[in-house]
């Protein structure tokens, strides 16, 4: 029997969307919508092309859709290659990368690319592949090997220097290692050390931030950033300006916010990078705590869903990869909101799906695509 045109159209859409996780899709659409509306307000005084933002969002979803069609097996097979390719690019950057603003992070291969971005996906891929390979015969020293796999690109990125990205790549790899079963007795001492370290910094902040105190292992500007976080007023017109102004934006938003397009902090240009890294301040000012709770709920739902997909994934590779990608989303969101609200030092981390920026959106779309692919192919692999 001939199908009616309506059924055909329906079928086509179902065809396109078949296997896309509906929950995840709705959450991402919600986030993208928030991002788009915030972008409209944030870019009011800075003529960033709206079409460009639309294109980036579409591109991100297209990438997600394509990746969701790729069977996880293919990713598993490509993992080593992608990782190797990424590390090779990082070495190339170290050798003859472009220097901008004192950092060597970019490579000109016709277009200028930032290879460290690739590592954000390549790292969990590679480690998930490794642990998949060692499944069942896993030994303690496997964590050592994983550590080396992790350390090489992190080291290369850190010395560009790009501490923010290095930490994110490190976190992405670490998630895989921990989820793969890194013994608690190895984890806890570090957690304890970290907690003590943070407490010490908070307590002795004013002493160690004194002008003539030189910190080992970190650049002066990095020390400055942390110190500025501890006391933004110490440099109100310099590094502290961003933090202070974004805190003012968030705080002045109140519970209901000032309303869409009504944020004075944003529209009078007090917020730096207001459509990229600091877009959360714009959103917070205009939509208030209420808006923030909705946004955080969406992110939380995204992470819950991502973890749920990973938990029901068919093999170790997909489980590790899915959970790591989800936790990368989490890390982005947490670090971004933390830094904009003055909890964490200012590092260049975008707010997933909200911040303007093609590369980040594509990377995130790729990650979301991986989750969708895992979900879509869960039975195919199992059977």
């Amino acid at each position: 029997m001939e199908k009616s045109p309506l059924i055909k159209v329906k079928g086509f859409f179902f065809g396109i969307f078949s296997g896309l996780d509906r929950q995840l899709g709705l959450i991402l659409l919600g986030l993208a919508a928030i991002g788009f509306f915030t972008f409209l307000s944030a870019s009011q005084n800075t003529p960033v092309q709206i079409l460009e933002e639309v294109r980036n969002l579409v591109l991100s979803f297209v990438v997600m859709w394509i990746v969701s069609r790729i069977p996880p097996k293919w990713l598993e097979m490509g993992a080593v290659w992608i990782y190797g390719f990424g590390v090779a690019l990082l070495i190339a950057v170290a050798a003859f990368g472009l220097i901008k603003k004192g950092a060597r992070r970019w490579l000109n291969i016709g277009v200028v690319i930032q290879p460290s971005e690739i590592m954000k996906i390549a790292m969990p891929l590679m480690l998930a592949w490794y642990f998949q390979k060692r499944e069942g015969i896993q030994k303690s020293w496997d964590y050592g090997v994983a550590g080396i796999i992790l350390a090489i690109p992190v080291f290369l990125i850190a010395r560009q220097p790009d501490l923010g990205t290095a930490l994110l790549v490190f976190a992405a790899g670490l998630y895989v290692i921990i989820l793969a079963g890194l013994p608690w007795k190895w984890i806890l001492p570090f957690v304890a050390l970290g907690v003590i370290g943070i407490l010490l910094i908070i307590i002795f902040g004013s002493t160690i931030c004194a002008h003539d105190v030189v910190w080992p292992l970190v650049h002066n500007y990095q020390k400055h950033r942390i110190c500025t976080l501890l006391d933004p007023t110490s440099d109100p017109l310099g590094k502290g300006f961003h933090t202070i102004q974004s805190m003012i934006a968030i705080g002045s938003g109140g519970f209901f916010g000032k309303g869409w397009f009504q944020g004075t902090q944003a529209h009078l240009e007090f917020i730096p990078e207001k459509h990229t890294d600091f877009v959360f301040a714009v959103f917070s000012e205009e939509f208030g705590l209420l808006g923030n709770l909705v946004l955080l709920a969406l992110f939380f739902a995204l992470i819950k869903r991502g973890l749920a997909i990973s938990a029901s994934a068919p093999n170790l590779f997909t489980r590790l990869l899915g959970a790591a990608v989800t936790l990368i989303f989490f890390t982005y969101a947490f670090v971004n909101i933390g830094m904009v609200s003055g909890l964490l030092p200012v590092v260049g981390v975008p707010l997933p799906f909200i911040s303007y920026g093609g590369t980040a959106l594509v990377t995130l779309g790729f990650g979301a695509g991986i989750l969708m692919s895992i979900h879509r192919h869960r039975r195919l692999v199992q059977s």
Partner: protein, 635 residues
């Protein structure tokens, strides 16, 4: 369902749970932070956002005019085009911008300095004038190149101007840019005012006050003239660019100050002094109105308004002529023989002499082992009171001084105003010295210096010795006698005028106090002084007046004003005697009294009296001396 082992999945599930817990904790941390910022601290941040967003742009108030008693404007404002630069736009490359601008508009090093100074002074955002008084060509040239200079614009600004330049500079004073000190002082004033009147909040907008009176009437009537600056509440960007005006509070223009000074008389006297230095004060005795207040030489107050250049400043400051010195207000001189009529009145009032009582003057007076000489060799012969004044007989007053003693003289002269602050409406008045035994005791440190010697009394009688008064005090005392003992506070300002309604409010027309003087005694003195100008020392100068005028010449040895300061540059000229003169006219009902000194000019009759004559001729009869250029109203 075979490709993974059960235990592994369990361990993975467990870690997923832990991860979920970790994520939840982190999100709660964020929520707490946001609640803290958006609920708990919302008020604080809302306020910060508001103060971020709003800038108060001052709208300076128009300064009140200075108007003479006949309506001639001697201090006014005019509008001129200025090149204004937005401070935010030039951060970092001020010099480059000024260099570029100076290719099309003339910018002096002084302009550059002033501009940079205002940039440094004011951490506020805003615009500052770089060049003022642009002419048409410059304006046109800039407009053509405007696109090259974002943040630079041409604006109309109000400037203070003294249209007669040097004329009356010491009494007018001048305004200048507000200094840090001025600001602190005004802040204190405003806070004081606020405590009294909480509604006076608007007056606290200090940034609107860019100029302040520095000396003269501009200083003493500052609060009247200034008005209240207004401001616009303007929404600004982080870069300080105005976005829109939210509200404005208009400025209230300052009030006009109406002087009691007759500026034409002032002009005439200043001209009559020529190159001589000196002080001249004319007072209307009945009211205390100061009609002329001359200090020569003077300076051009216009030079000071936008900040004086260093060359002119050095010239003024280093000149031995002391053009910045307010002589009638601060210069103290021995009154010389002009003191004699007051001494005579003191004698009558204290019954130490009668008008007809005579002395025989041999030309000198011996006291102890010191001989006090008279001007006239061989003496004036038999001298009664009138003759003592008409011929200016010193011996008469040596004897009188001895008979009265220093304290009796002091007690009589004090209410007349000698050695006292007159309370004129200018700051920095000198007190001078009216000696008494008490005064000497308080002034000197060593006991032998504190003692009063009888010999010191003698020369006081002829206005020498410790006597040292300002010309203002001398005029004031003369006015008090001419006004029959009714003391009117001398003042330069008659009324305050509302700039819109033109309503005038009189300032100080009230009498201060009365001196109980015998009218007959005053008549004796007035008559004697009239005779001075008929047959006495200044008869020549007053030959053929159409009115009756009383006067008295004086010659004072160079003493207090210059003795210290001129030691190094002392020349013969600066050692010559000062010529003094006092007068009142018409005698029967005086409308004007005069006290004056012409420094280092020699005899009073020769150099001072003729100036007084011409001033009186003009003031009483409207006669303008031929040799003086006609008064021309400023354009």
């Amino acid at each position: 369902m075979v490709s993974f082992k059960k235990p592994d999945l369990d361990s993975f599930q467990e870690r997923i749970h832990i991860a979920t817990l970790f994520v939840t904790v982190c999100f709660l941390l964020l929520v707490t932070r946001l609640v803290w910022l958006q609920l708990v601290s919302h008020g604080k941040y809302a306020l910060l956002a508001e103060s971020n967003r709003i800038a108060l742009v001052p709208a300076p108030a128009n300064r009140g005019l200075l108007i003479d008693r006949n309506g001639i404007v001697i201090g006014r404002n005019y509008s001129a085009l200025t090149l204004d630069v937005n401070a935010e736009e030039v951060k970092g490359n001020v010099d480059q911008l000024i260099n570029d601008l100076s290719e099309i508009i003339d910018i002096s090093p002084r302009d550059r300095r002033n501009f940079k100074r205002s940039l440094e002074d004011s951490r506020n955002m805003g615009t500052f004038p770089l060049r003022s008084m642009l002419n048409e060509t410059e304006t046109a040239r800039f407009m053509a190149n405007r696109y090259r200079f974002p943040g630079v614009e041409i604006r109309a600004r109000s400037f203070r101007e003294y249209p007669y330049n040097e004329l009356a500079s010491h009494l007018i004073g001048y305004i200048g840019r507000v200094s840090q000190k001025d600001k602190e002082r005004m802040q204190a004033e405003i806070e004081g005012a606020k405590a009294d009147d909480p509604d006076a909040l608007q007056a606290s907008f200090l940034p609107g006050i860019q100029y302040v009176g520095k000396i003269g009437l501009e200083q003493s009537y500052e609060t009247v003239l200034r008005g209240v600056p207004g401001y616009d509440q303007v929404e600004i960007t982080a870069g300080g660019k105005p976005v829109r005006t939210l509200s404005s509070s208009p400025s209230i223009p300052g009030k006009n100050v109406v002087l009691s000074v007759d500026i034409k008389l002032q002009y005439l006297v200043e001209q009559l002094y020529g190159n001589f230095r000196g002080a001249f004060v004319a007072i209307e005795p009945e009211t205390g109105d100061v009609l002329a207040f001359v200090s020569k030489p003077n300076f051009n107050p216009n030079d000071f308004v936008e900040g004086i250049d260093s060359v002119t400043w050095k010239e003024l400051n280093d000149s031995p002529q002391k053009p910045l010195y307010n002589r009638p207000l601060k210069g103290i001189y021995p009154p010389g023989s002009t003191y004699k009529p007051f001494m005579a009145l003191a004698a009558l009032e204290n019954k130490k002499r009668t008008p007809s009582q005579t002395i025989s003057d041999p030309g000198y007076f011996d006291f102890g082992n010191h001989t006090f000489r008279d001007d006239k060799k061989g003496g004036h012969g038999i001298v009664d009171m009138q003759k003592s004044i008409v011929e200016s007989c010193d011996t008469y007053y040596y004897l009188l001084a001895r008979d009265m003693g220093v304290n009796m003289m002091h007690d009589f002269m004090k209410p007349l105003g000698f050695g006292q602050i007159t309370g004129i409406d200018l700051q920095g008045e000198a007190r001078g010295v009216l000696p008494s035994t008490e005064w000497k005791k308080n002034t000197f440190k060593k006991p032998e210096q504190q003692k009063w010697y009888e010999g010191e009394t003698i020369s006081l009688g002829i206005g020498q010795g410790y006597n040292a008064f300002t010309i203002l005090q001398l005029a004031h005392a003369m006015a008090n006698v001419a006004n029959n003992g009714i003391v009117m506070k001398p003042h330069l300002v008659k009324a305050i005028e509302d700039p819109f309604t033109r309503n005038r409010v009189l300032t100080t027309p009230k009498e201060s106090y009365r001196i109980d003087l015998n009218a007959e005694n005053i008549e004796v003195i007035k008559k004697a002084m009239l005779e001075v100008n008929i047959s006495g020392t200044s008869a020549a100068a007053f030959k053929g007046t159409g009115y009756q005028v009383g006067g008295k010449t004086g010659t004072a040895q160079v003493f207090s004003l210059n003795s210290k300061e001129y030691k190094h540059s002392a020349t013969a000229e600066f050692l010559r005697d000062h010529a003094l003169y006092i007068a009142f006219a018409p005698v029967d009902k005086p409308t004007i009294v005069i006290a004056m000194v012409v420094e280092n000019a020699g005899f009073g009759a020769q150099h001072a009296a003729p100036i007084a004559r011409k001033a009186l001729d003009y003031y009483i009869e409207g006669k303008w001396p031929k040799e003086i250029p006609e008064w021309k109203r400023a354009p």
